[in-house]
């Protein structure tokens, strides 16, 4: 133990020294690396690659961001790796989202808590939507929730996450806000990803879909599905302005799948500040606004301490819902 402490001290001194020399012109990561805690192809992978590419395109980092896919345990493997083995790496950032907060809240990363890492910044949010097939008889959210209230067995809701995951929680938040007391009666069917869930909505196997706006966009454009509610505080901009919010239908439910990054817990303050500043610059750029618009990401502009508070809040909220529906005791 003592040896380890000494070693960390030496490393910290070395890193501190190098950070000092660099801080004259601000910290720049030498080998920037982004861990995507899932296999290639998912949201976290997208976050890492897109942000890495944009940071490089805009000259905010000197070299190419190396994206490492460290899949396993719904992000838990990567979390444990960062906490246990790479806790003082200044060049490392890790993609995170509401799913990370959900699992932290439900204790699904055994032995890990949210304060073991430093939360950097968000790069946008994907608001939740509840949708039905284009030819469905259900016109709006209250009609859907009424049917659930009267006969929970009549409506199957499909989503891309496991039971207790974020897609599931979104529909429960809405049901709860509508006054359905026993939210456990809501029939939720878990599929492998939002795409498969939408396909099953089109196939007529299920009556409603809960997911992110980006998953639904292509099918809304083609006229295959109809969004009955978007779980945002107010109507979104651009192409999405026609979607009614849940709030304006009298259901006070908000669910945003935020996307952002965390960094190792012992990252130096210089490095932390530099990463925060770089992501903030990226976020403010027109190029990033375009990427957000193209992918259906809504604004969520939180950095540093503000972001840390936001994540803490979101973990607390999810913990409460999960307790109510009996996922955690």
């Amino acid at each position: 133990m003592k040896f380890k402490a000494t070693r960390i001290a030496i490393i910290a001194t070395l890193l501190g020294a190098s950070a000092l020399t660099a801080s004259a012109e601000g910290f720049t990561p030498e080998n920037p690396e982004c861990i995507a805690p899932a296999n290639p192809g998912g949201g976290w992978d997208f976050t890492c690659r897109q942000v890495g590419k944009s940071l490089q395109d805009q000259g905010l980092i000197g070299s190419t961001m190396q994206v490492v896919n460290l899949a396993g345990g719904g992000g838990g493997v990567a979390y444990a790796e960062v906490v246990n083995k790479r806790s003082d790496d200044n060049d490392l950032i890790v993609a995170a989202s509401s799913a990370t907060a959900t699992r932290l809240a439900q204790g699904a990363y055994p032995g890990n808590t949210m304060d073991q890492v430093r939360w950097l910044a968000s790069v946008g949010a994907d608001y939740g939507v509840i949708a039905v097939a284009a030819d469905s008889e259900i016109d709006n959210l209250t009609e859907l929730l009424d049917m659930v209230k009267n006969d929970p067995t009549s409506i199957s809701v499909a989503g891309g996450s496991a039971v207790g995951g974020w897609d599931h929680l979104k529909v429960l938040i809405a049901a709860n806000a509508y006054g359905i007391d026993d939210v456990r009666s809501v029939k939720y069917i878990a599929f492998d990803g939002g795409g498969e869930a939408v396909t099953q909505l089109l196939a007529g196997s299920v009556q409603a879909f809960t997911g992110d706006i980006s998953e639904a966009k292509g099918f809304v454009d083609s006229g295959d599905i109809r969004v009955v509610a978007v779980l945002s505080p107010e109507r979104l901009g651009g192409d999405f302005a026609e979607f009614p919010t849940a709030r304006e239908q009298g259901v006070d439910a908000i669910g945003a799948n935020w996307r952002g990054f965390y960094a190792p817990g012992n990252m130096s303050d210089e490095a932390y500040d530099a990463w925060v500043a770089q992501i903030a610059t990226l976020y403010a750029s027109d190029e990033w606004k375009q990427i957000m618009a193209d992918n259906g990401l809504a604004p969520l502009d939180l950095q540093g301490a503000e972001f840390e508070a936001f994540v803490a809040n979101s973990v607390a909220q999810i913990e409460q819902i999960s307790r109510e529906i009996g996922i955690i005791q």
Binding site: N39, G42, G73, G195, G204, G218, I327
Partner: protein, 512 residues
């Protein structure tokens, strides 16, 4: 006519020196990655994404590079299956069954060329299917609800009997073992972790690649270690290379097989919940049911090589249909390609064909180019590949072990997976001693989860009513095939079985 004009435009986009160079590079790298155990098409594509971005390639060139890698890996997977009895990736597993016995008979060159041709036929027909039918095919995918998927998986398991063993009970045991292993991980229908023992690495379940490399490659190494004294392994390893190209008669004999299995594989690929592994598997078992009158499948029947190869390459093309037309990936690799499209600001989905015709047709043209290139590249390289067999096992086996470890570590970067791989290696070694076939274990792990989830989805949607499983004409149709496939061999099986038993003595335990 409009179709041909579109395709012509696609070739105009794809046929630049840069794009051809990229296709060549992609095909070569893909073949190599496919052949290495552990590195499959999805890792291969993922590894090359940064390259595409660093080179600053546009949408079409990036896609050309990456789909060439994809097709290349589907071709390459067969090489180690045939030569070493170690599948390079999941879909190539079925090629071991007849490919390796062929190589043992001194027909390695023929098996490799024939499988190359079968791959070409499968991929070629699938690309045409993609062009002609993509919008219509999406409707087939929409016919499949959870109940139909369950029936499809049940069909796969019911036709399993006799695929890879002379003993049905051992096949069933192996499949059950695989299904059991598939239970490990978080259960998505309840969110509860099963058999994880608090180990976070197990939350996502076992990685099939780890299981395959362990069961096939490592157990091969263990068997070698055990028998190395007195050149005991020499008898199995002294392989002649024989001729490099298959005789016309063989190609002719396999042509109906290739056509049938291309169709089946393509259909399996189109279903987002099925994929290439199911494609090659169903192709093989159906073909065996259909043409294997003498019981030669499993002993080095060329048709047994052509069937899964045409099937899995056709499935690779088929998997592009739901990816492009629905934005739903039909396999791990298409999930990666989907991510690439998204990061290039192209949204796949129902409107892709009208909004980005240049990307779609450029991609399709690139598929044709890659396909011809792979055929041209693979046939002459057969001679080179077969040299592998001349390497003495005392050198080859350490290389196999090394590649396995490096490949598996490369996927996840965790030593935990290495432990799991070693455990599978030991298990594979023990099971081989008992003459238990290994293929059904992988199929169980591969398909078990999807099968269970679809069953539970179907039942939950219909509020616990089991009759939902036979509620649609399609489901009934699939069940009918499954039951026929299960019962028919029991009736006409006696004759076949006799042939199999005679064969068993000369093959021994390692031939599964």
């Amino acid at each position: 006519m409009e179709l041909l004009a579109n395709l012509g435009d696609g070739f105009v986009i794809a046929l630049t020196w840069q794009n051809i160079g990229l296709a060549l590079l992609g095909c070569f790298l893909g073949t190599v990655m496919g052949a290495l155990p552990g590195l499959g098409p999805s890792n291969g594509v993922a590894i090359l994404i940064p390259l595409a971005f660093t080179l600053g390639l546009g949408a079409t060139p990036s896609l050309i590079l990456l789909t060439s890698v994809y097709y290349g890996a589907m071709y390459g997977g067969r090489i180690s299956s045939i030569l070493l009895n170690i599948p390079g990736d999941e879909p190539a597993m079925m090629t071991c069954l007849d490919g390796y016995p062929m190589a043992k008979k001194g027909m390695a060159g023929e098996a490799l060329s024939l499988s190359g041709i079968a791959s070409f036929v499968g991929a070629f027909l699938a690309t045409w299917g993609l062009i002609l039918l993509a919008p219509q095919l999406v409707k087939i995918a929409l016919l499949f609800g959870p109940a139909e998927y369950f029936a499809l998986f049940a069909l796969a398991f019911m036709t399993l009997g006799g695929v890879s063993s002379t003993n049905q009970a051992k096949s069933a045991f192996a499949a059950a073992l695989g299904l059991g292993l598939a239970m490990i991980g978080v259960d998505t229908q309840t969110g509860v972790p099963r058999f994880t023992f608090g180990e976070v690495h197990l939350y996502d379940g076992l990685d099939f690649l780890v299981a395959i490399v362990g069961l096939f490659a490592l157990s091969e190494v263990f068997i070698f270690l055990e028998t190395r004294h007195g050149e005991a392994s020499g008898s199995g390893r002294k392989l002649e290379i024989g001729r490099l190209t298959p005789p016309w008669a063989m190609i002719k004999q396999c042509t109906p097989t290739m056509l049938r299995t291309s169709f089946l594989g393509f259909l399996a690929g189109v279903l987002p919940g099925a994929g290439a592994s199911l494609g090659s598997f169903i192709s093989y078992s159906m073909e065996k049911r259909l043409v294997d009158k003498e019981g030669t499948f499993g002993t080095g029947d060329p048709r047994g090589v052509a069937a899964p190869e045409a099937g899995n390459n056709a499935a690779a093309g088929g998997a592009l249909v739901p990816m492009l037309a629905l934005g739903v990936p039909g396999s791990g690799t298409t999930a990666v390609l989907l991510a690439v499209l998204l990061s290039l600001n192209i949204t796949p989905g129902p409107l892709l064909f009208t909004q980005n015709p240049d990307v779609v047709w450029g991609l399709i043209a690139a598929l044709f180019i890659a396909n011809f290139m792979l055929l041209a590249m693979n046939i002459p390289m057969v001679g080179l590949f077969t040299r592998l067999l001349l390497i003495p096992p005392r050198i080859l086996m350490p290389i196999v072990a090394m590649v396995s470890f490096v490949g598996i570590y490369g996927i996840s970067g965790s030593t935990f997976d290495l432990m799991v791989m070693i455990a599978f290696g030991v298990m594979g070694w023990v099971l081989r001693k008992f003459d238990v076939p290994l293929v059904p274990i992988i199929l169980g792990t591969l398909l078990g989860n999807a099968m269970e989830n679809n069953l539970r989805r179907a039942i939950t949607i219909d509020n616990g009513d089991w009759f939902t499983l036979i509620d649609s004409p399609l489901a009934l149709f699939l069940w009918a095939i499954a039951i026929i496939g299960f019962i028919l061999p029991l009736i006409i099986g006696a004759k076949v079985k006799k042939g199999m038993h005679e064969r068993r003595d000369e093959e021994g335990a390692i031939s599964d």
